[in-house]
Amino acid sequence: MQELDALKQRIVEALPGLDCVIGWEPGPSPLTAAPLFMRTPADVDRLVWGPFNAPNTAVYLPAFKGRKVGVVVKGCDSRSVVELIQEKLVRREELVVFAMPCRGVADASKVAGRVGDLGQVSAAARDGATLQVTTPEGMAAMPWDEACADKCLNCQYPNALVSDHFLGDPLAPAQGRDAAADEMGRFEAMAPAERMAWWAQAMDRCIRCYACRNACPMCVCRDHCIAQTRDPHWVSQEDGVREKLMFQAIHALHLAGRCTECGECQRACPVDIPILALRRKLNRVVKDVFDYQAGVDPQAVPPLFTFQVEEAKINERGW
Amino acid sequence: MTSLPNPYLPDMATIVETVQETPNIKTFRVRLDSEARRKAFTFQPGQVGQLSVFGTGESTFVINSPPTRMDYLQFSVMRAGEVTAALHRLNAGDRIGVRAPLGNWFPYESMKGKDIVFIGGGIGMAPLRTLLLFMLDNRKDYGRIRLLYGARSPEDMAFKAELPEWLGRDDLETVLTIDREAPGWEHRVGLIPNVLREMAPPAGNAVAVTCGPPIMIKFTLQALKDLGFADGQIVTTLEKRMKCGVGLCGRCNIGEKYVCVDGPVFTYEQLKELPNEL
């Protein structure tokens, strides 16, 4: 792959001025790629770009604040980078952003729904509009549209929104189904009690590992999360649905107007709870009220970071 | 299956007396409510206990009264977190839970016949107090006993009520020090390691027992080494975050050793064998 080789070359050239460059290498099993921290040209040789590069590399950036670091991004990852810049959690001048046009990433959970135990998958590759997965039963082919992450179906930002090195020809936005809208529609069609029961049932299997929180690039409290503090004591250590849902509600509210919908919370969830829906819901509210989308304009001020005396859609004085 | 007692279940106890030692250290004298438990209760100097404020939680403190004085168990608590703040709100007559004794103790048997040098800084004086009083109660078993106790300022000095007695005893050489000059202070001024060097206790037949904040320990160990103390002649006690107190919950380990059961007392020789994770 010519573009990837060119990208590697650019990274090798940039390495001497950088702490490291964050990208991906093949993960412990097919269908996965793992974040790679490149410090030497030999590390750069391991870099991959393809349909399994799901992890959002932006999650690591705030920890490097104060040091110059490189990062390889997909279009959606770049939105997180933009939001981090907007929130001053990273400094643009300390980042060197590398990117290529992204054709989408696979959703392991969807593939598992099709082929069963991912532990038995010995190989996986994308061939155009098909994902081919090898299992002990043989090769299974599934349409890419049914294997990719929901966000990729109608991805509006396949090319990084911020980059210093962009290799390859930019892609047009995807024209597929808006899976997020479908999901919202399903939830909104439920009566409140039915919706609550649905979430209670889903959250029951939550193990409170907080992979959702730690995988979130916009989660800024890090080691000082309300999930563990006793002052304030908003959630206890009891393992009931009430506590689990309370944490999700707090997390979602903290992300209102900040979440770039990268979906890492849901991808990281080991028990496959569709928690991205909660963040999407709040983003829709923010879009509705402030006509704002997170992580697309480095110059924009996130609406909940500021206020206007007269907000167009908040009728405070008319109450 | 054996029917060992539930290791998590505290004894109920009543605070019989409190002493506000310093602005942030408060001493609690505690009696177990059950007469049978009180009679059966034994411990060794250096062992610790978990104090419970129900609804808030448990924290670990050394029993700083000696086993030779069993009218009450004494704990001195520096206010630092949630449980210690809750303890500080309690007074005589209030009830708490006590899980004790836990952990190991000072090797006082092998210290018999030797000179003893106590070096305590701040709240680190608490574990030394139990051994000091134990030795004073068995005075003939030990050689010269020196005590160097330092605090930041006169008002940070705990156990004030006992200091005149300690200073006045013929069989105990007490040196008090504070970090900086203060009006009315009649004792030494200077950091503990420096004062220790000036005191220059002979290492020959001595054991040094030290406890205090990490930075003080670091320089005190250096001073002791310079004075000729071998690693095996230095005893200290460690502190870690603990929950269970019985070697299970996984947070106080340093490599294979669990501070709650293998400690808190270690010789410097033993400490050096442990991985570096204090």
Binding site: P136, V271 | G247
Partner: protein, 353 residues
């Protein structure tokens, strides 16, 4: 133990009904894309084709359990100083864990050495352990993250199980491993296994063959100690780690816990909950000092505990059952096999220096 028996596929539901009559049966089912143990419900299909995402450790070591309850009651003598009543909350009732894999059941042998041995008896653990039986299903095939054979186990390991089931054409060969297990397979639903024992052996051999060549992890004990002060090594290995708790909470052998009080007015409970050594708060002291301040320190302790400290304290036994859940469910592909092997390799290189 007893002779091997045979249970036809058609009788499985009847056996589960029989087991459910006397006690709670936990069985794996699919929820979303995950497989979790839930109380058996004949209306919900079992998921036995793959290992559960969440191991059955909650059966013996719940994510949250009450250790004791307390209540403040008015003391008529001294109205301002309430009396304290504390009552321990010991667990009751028996459980059968049905359909776990050998690794999930074997995890408790790691707990046993710590929680119910050597003069220490954790009464909560001991009561549940005694009241829980494991009906385990031998694995037919290794998965890519499986390494049970590296840690002294295997796909048909009965260690920690009470009954071992092996799928054969038409049903299951059933072996009682313990007395507790023998009591579960006494009904008329079972017939002698006879010739099916050969099929059972073949299934075990086939599963064994699907595993890669095991690596010797014994040198890890010293190698991890040697690497203790090499923080550069640990920083690199932990760079991608998110420091979340997916690995620890899904681990059948991770037993670190927290104890917290939850108050409601004048009463409340002291709880024991799963805790996570990868969390910053785990070792944070009230003074603000933290002996394991970075994820590199914490990952070092996690790997060290399993492959060095625990073996050092328990005759070389490794505190890992090789189930691979930490690898499969890690959002960023941290592979504990690579971490241990990296430490062994580091020691080997140093010894050549």
């Amino acid at each position: 133990m007893d002779q091997a028996k045979f249970l036809p596929d058609a009788s499985l539901a009847a056996w589960l009904a029989e087991l459910s009559a006397a006690r709670l049966v936990l069985a794996p089912r699919r929820e979303g894309g995950a497989v979790v143990f839930k109380p058996y419900d004949p209306a919900v299909p079992l998921e036995l084709t793959r290992d559960a995402t969440v191991p059955p450790k909650g059966a013996v070591f719940p994510a949250c359990e009450e250790l004791m309850r307390y209540r403040r009651v008015k003391d008529p003598e001294k109205p301002g100083q309430p009396l304290l009543e504390v009552e321990e909350s010991l667990p009751e009732g028996g459980v059968v864990v049905f359909g776990s894999r050998p690794c999930g059941a074997r995890g408790f042998t790691v707990y046993d050495r710590v929680f119910d041995a050597g003069g220490l008896n954790d009464p909560y653990y001991a009561a549940r352990r005694k009241a829980t039986a494991f009906v385990t299903l031998a694995c037919r095939e290794a998965g890519s993250a499986c390494f049970c054979h590296w840690v002294g186990s295997g796909p048909a390991d009965p260690d920690g199980s009470d009954v071992l089931l092996t799928q054969v054409p038409g049903g299951y060969v059933v072996r009682a491993v313990t007395e507790k297990g023998a009591a579960l397979v006494g009904s008329g639903l079972f017939s002698p296994a006879d010739r099916r024992e050969g099929e059972e052996a073949a299934a075990h051999a086939k599963a064994r063959e699907s595993l890669d060549d095991p690596r010797d992890l014994a040198p890890a004990r010293q190698a991890l100690l040697d690497a203790f002060d090499d923080m550069e090594f640990w920083s690199q290995l932990s760079a991608k780690c998110l420091s979340c708790g997916a690995c620890t909470y899904l681990c059948p052998t991770c037993y670190c816990f927290n104890i917290t009080d939850e108050a409601q007015g004048n009463e409340g409970a002291r709880l024991r909950t799963w805790d996570n050594c990868m969390s910053f708060q785990f070792t944070l002291e009230a003074s603000g000092h933290n002996p394991r301040p970075t994820k590199a320190h914490r990952l070092k302790n996690r790997v060290g505990h399993k492959f060095s400290y625990y073996p050092g304290l328990h005759g070389g036994a490794i505190a890992c059952c090789g189930c691979g859940r930490c690898i499969r469910s890690c959002p960023v592909g941290v592979d504990i096999r690579q971490l241990v092997l990296a430490a062994v390799e580091r020691a080997r290189e140093k010894s050549h220096d």
